[in-house]
Structures are given as structure tokens and as C-alpha cells.
Amino acid sequence: MKTLITELLGTSPVAPLQKHIKTVYECACRLPKLVRAANQGDWDTAKKLHEEIAQLENEADRLKFQIRSNLPKSLFMPVPRQDLLELVLVQDKIANITRDVSGIIIGRKMRFPEDIRDDYQAFVDLCVEAVGQAVQSVNELDELYETGFRGAEVELVEKMIRKLDETETKTDRLQSQIRRKLFAIEDDLPPVHVMFLYIVIEKTGGIADMAERVGRRLELLLAK
């Protein structure tokens, strides 16, 4: 049944965006568990987690395309369409990177050297925590739409984004600490292994970077 009023109200992008980042978060949440399993040599669990990560990443991709196709140019929205599209793109990158990291760990049967094992575990936990904080701020989107992106609610979201920034800064510090420790022991390890350790550390940091960029994107919506 079509009436002018049902036609007039386009599909709201809010709920799909929130569903997307929720899927991304579930994907990222499996990475610390996978790292733990790999370090313990429990490859069955690790492989199962990797498969789940791949599946969730696919699901996030599917949601991303769905959001894009539901945002035609003829829509009038309180925030620019482009900003929303870029927000979903950044959200999606979190899942992509997670899948990259888990792929390398599984593919190379990678175990972290004892000296940096705990540090890396703490690092990956914190990166995923940053994603969790990004999810929280994206979950405020419906409240932001309610107020037209102004007023008291905006201050609340700005506070959340500041907290997210702090978490990301902490991950940066952890990352350089791990690098220093790895540098100290790298001569004792097989060179190719070391190379991939650096890559994995770098990419894991990218998860927190992307979470922070989700915050930046939200901030852009607020500034308008």
C-alpha cells in the first residue's frame, strides 16, 4: 500500500548504521580471543574464531551496501549524505583490518614471542575497547537526530568522543612500547617472522585508529 506520506518518509539510515557498527564490533571482539588461543597453541579454537570473523566481515559488507543503496541522492537529510557514507566506510574498515590480522595469524600459525606476548594481548584488548566506545557514540545517533544535532545531547556525544580519543592515544603508546621490545629481541628471531610481527602490530593499531576516525566522522556531523 503506497500513499504520499509513506513515500515521503525515506528509509532512515540510523538503525542500519547502528546495526552495521554492532556487527563490526562483534567481529573485532573475536580478535583478542583468537590471539589468546593462538598463543596457547589452540588452533582449533583459533580457526573457528577466524571463520566467525570472516563471516561477520562479510555480513558487515552486505550491510554497508544495503545502507548505500538506501541513501539515494533524492533524499533530504539533516546531515550531508556524503558524511554518512564516509562514516559507514570507516566503520567497515574496522572489520576489514580485523580480518586481515586474524588471517595473518592463522595463515602463518603465528605465536607471539614470550617477551611481548602479554603486552600485545593488552594492546589488542585496548584497541577493541576503542571500537566499543565508537559503538557507544554511534548508538547516540538516534538521540542526535531527535534533537536535530544541537543542544545538550551534543555535549554528551562530544564527551564520549573525547574519551574515545584518549583510549586511542593509549593504544599508540602501547604500540611503540611493543615495537621497542620487539626491536630488542628481533635479532634472535627468524627475520620473516619478525617482519610479519611488525605488520600485525601495525595493523592492530589501525583498528583503534579507525575507531577514532568514527568519532571524527561523528564530530563532523555535530559541527554542521
Partner: protein, 417 residues
């Protein structure tokens, strides 16, 4: 007059079916937002719509009915052939009814008002001659079709801006909502009562002085606001669904307001759209009864009653399903938005009804929703609809006109041998 009884029966049946169609299809737009946001159950929505559509049709539908009945066709050239007006009005009802049937089958959102005005102008211009159309009146009607959505949009924009400023952007939106929402209720009831008393009631034989009408409007406005405030006071925050600013509960406060504005919109809709069904009927009745085209004879109240009953039956038999389907699709028109659109649309429509202008209630509501959107109230608005409205104008008016010309000549051939 030879076939007087047949004319009356035909006009009664056609008019009743038009009213049925209006109740079945058009009322959904007024009530679906309330159902979609769960402010009302479907049963409650049907009951409220039935009461207020009927009241609007009977109490405030007179002016627009008069316009359709005698405002568009200049009968001076056919005063010796009163049958021509009867054929034309019957043809118009038939044309508009059939066109609406085709359109709703095809899923085209067309306006009842445009169909009937197109049909009446069509038979008059072709069947009676170009001079038989009061073009200045038609011009002002067409102007009102442009002005009414724009005006409703502007009012909705301002109302929603005030909601954001007074309530949503405050630090304690729930307390502010409880404070201000009764004011909006007062405003809704005041405006609708005032316009109706001042302009509508003379058709039901009531005459009330200006001072008295302000007094009554004030009284009813206060009554609605007080009852509303009492209901709102009992709403408690829901800790499970609320976030920091209690917007879930704030929307529940607005949902109470939306019951008031939805009633207002149903009233406004009845007051304007009943004429599409019973305007031509009224013309046939007065002409067939007297055998004269006597535009002095007053509108008979039972005609508005018949229209009101037709709308209510349409609503009860078929409208239920339409309301349920439309309601599901527009859930994100939340009460704080829905009420602003409804209040803006209903005030615009009752003013048009009081002025005797047949406007499209749906287009007015579309204008109002767009106004809320322009105030950054809606997450996504599909602007293609605006183009769809212009297309529906371009198709509906000629289609209504062509069909009514066709039926006019057929009826003329049947009855005039």
C-alpha cells in the same frame, strides 16, 4: 421534473460511495501516524477518526460543499434547462469516483479534491460552454492548492523549531515537555474550535457572536489542555528504554499530544473532504426538488450527515487495513514530529474549509511533513514525492474532466430523448 426520484437516488448512491472511498483511503493519512508511533491502537484510532471525521463533516463541511455545489458553475446560461446541471453533477461524481478507483488499483496517489474539481470544471466548460465556468473562483481554488502545502509547511517548520528550542535541546527535556505540551494542546483545540464556530456552524443553524465564539474556543482549549496535563503528569520515565535525556519518555508525552492533533486532523479532513462527495449531491438535490437552479436555497443538513456517515462506514469497513499498513511504514515519524505536522496541516485545512476552498488534505499534510524535515526533524525525506505531486496534478485534473464530459453526454443521451 420527469425523473426527479431517479436523479435523487442516483446522486445519493454516487455521493455515498465517494464518501465511502474517502473514508476508506484518505483517512489513513490522518490516523496512521498515531498508530505507527503506538500512541493509539487501531481500534482507538478508528473510533476517534469516526467521531471527528463525522463532526468535521457535519459541523464545518458546509462552506466547501457550497463551493462545489454552486461556486464553480455559473448557472445563469442554463436556467431554462436545470437538467443539464443535474447530468453534469452526476457525471462529475461518477467520473471522480471511477478515476479514484482506477488510481487506487494502480497505486497512484491522486487527490479526491483534484478529481472532483477537475470533473466539475470539465463538464461545465465542455458541456455548457466556457462561459459557464466561474474562472476567477477556479483560479483561487487552484491558487489554494499551491498555497496550502506551502503554508502548512511554514507553520510546521515554526512549530517544530519551537519544540526543539523549548524542549528537545534543553538539559531536562522531559520536564520541559511536561510543561509545554499542554500549551500545544490548548493551541490546537483553540484554533480548531474558533474557526469552526466562526465559519462552520451557520450551516447547522447555529449563530454565535464573535465574543461568544472566542469564549467557547478558550473554554474548550483550556479543557483539552487540563485533561491532557493530567494524563501527562502520570507518565513516568522508563529506565530500561531511556538514555541520559529520557527521549523515549519524552516521545510518550508527545504521543498524548498527538492524540489531540490527530483528532484535529480528522476533524479538518472531514470538514474539507466531505464536500468532494456531497457537493455535487447537494446541487442535484436542490435542483431536482425545486425544478429550478436556485442557488439561494440553503444547504440541507441531512446531506452533510449522509457524507459523514459514508466516511465513517468507509473507515470502519476498509480504512482499518489501510491505517494498519500505512502505520507500519511510517514508524519513524515519531510523536514529536508527527504532532507538529498534524497541527500545521489541520490548522491550514480548517482555515481553507472555513473560506470554502476545496484543497487536497493529503498534499497539505505532505507540505507539513516537509516543513518538519526542513527544520532538521526527520532523518530522511524523499523529495521525489514532490515531483509525484505535480505529476498527479497534471494527470488527475484532465482525467477527471475528460471522464465527466464523457459521462455528461451519456447521461444526457439517456435521459433526454
Amino acid at each position: 421534473m420527469e425523473y426527479q426520484t431517479i436523479y435523487l437516488i442516483l446522486a445519493g448512491i454516487f455521493g455515498f460511495f465517494m464518501a465511502w472511498g474517502i473514508g476508506a483511503n484518505d483517512v489513513a493519512n490522518a490516523m496512521a501516524t498515531s498508530v505507527g508511533s503506538k500512541a493509539l491502537t487501531i481500534k482507538q484510532a478508528i473510533l476517534i477518526a469516526a467521531i471527528f471525521e463525522f463532526a468535521g463533516a457535519v459541523l464545518a463541511g458546509g462552506e466547501v460543499t457550497s463551493t462545489i455545489r454552486k461556486g464553480i458553475v455559473d448557472t445563469s446560461s442554463i436556467s431554462h434547462q436545470p437538467e443539464l446541471l443535474i447530468y453534469g453533477m452526476l457525471a462529475s461524481l461518477l467520473a471522480a469516483g471511477i478515476w479514484l478507483l482506477i488510481a487506487s488499483r494502480k497505486g497512484w496517489p491522486v487527490s479526491t479534491t483534484h478529481s472532483i474539481v477537475g470533473a466539475v470544471v470539465g463538464f461545465a466548460a465542455v458541456g455548457l460552454g466556457l462561459d459557464a465556468v466561474k474562472w476567477s473562483k477556479v483560479g483561487s481554488i487552484v491558487m489554494s492548492w499551491v498555497v496550502s502545502p506551502l503554508l502548512a509547511g511554514l507553520i510546521a517548520f515554526l512549530i517544530f523549531q519551537s519544540v526543539q528550542y523549548l524542549i528537545l535541546r534543553q538539559k531536562d527535556p522531559l520536564a520541559k515537555a511536561k510543561k509545554w505540551v499542554p500549551m500545544y494542546m490548548f493551541f490546537t483545540a483553540f484554533i480548531l474550535t474558533l474557526v469552526t464556530i466562526k465559519k462552520g456552524l451557520k450551516h447547522v443553524g447555529l449563530h454565535i457572536s464573535t465574543n461568544e465564539s472566542y469564549l467557547y474556543a478558550l473554554g474548550i482549549g483550556l479543557l483539552v489542555a487540563i485533561v491532557g496535563a493530567l494524563v501527562i503528569a502520570r507518565i513516568q520515565p522508563d529506565p530500561e528504554k531511556d538514555k541520559d535525556f529520557h527521549f523515549y519518555t519524552v516521545e510518550k508525552v508527545f504521543a498524548v499530544l498527538m492524540i489531540v492533533t490527530a483528532s484535529g486532523l480528522a476533524f479538518a479532513h472531514g470538514s474539507n473532504d466531505v464536500a468532494n462527495a456531497v457537493g455535487p449531491l447537494a446541487a442535484v438535490v436542490s435542483t431536482a426538488k425545486t425544478g429550478l437552479i436556485n442557488s439561494k436555497s440553503p444547504l440541507e443538513t441531512w446531506i452533510l450527515f449522509l457524507g459523514g456517515i459514508g466516511i465513517v462506514i468507509g473507515l470502519a469497513t476498509y480504512g482499518r487495513r489501510v491505517i494498519a499498513t500505512v502505520g507500519e511504514k511510517i514508524t519513524h515519524l515519531t510523536p514529536s514530529r508527527g504532532f507538529a505536522a498534524e497541527l500545521a496541516a489541520s490548522s491550514t485545512i480548517v482555515v481553507a474549509s472555513a473560506t470554502g476552498l476545496p484543497i487536497s488534505t493529503t498534499h497539505t499534510l505532505v507540505g507539513a511533513v516537509l516543513g518538519v524535515g526542513m527544520a532538521r526533524g526527520l532523518s530522511a525525506i524523499n523529495l521525489n514525492v514532490v515531483r509525484g505531486i505535480f505529476t498527479s496534478w497534471l494527470v488527475t485534473i484532465p482525467a477527471g474532466a475528460a471522464l465527466s464530459v464523457l459521462f455528461f453526454y451519456i447521461l444526457k443521451a439517456i435521459f433526454q430523448h
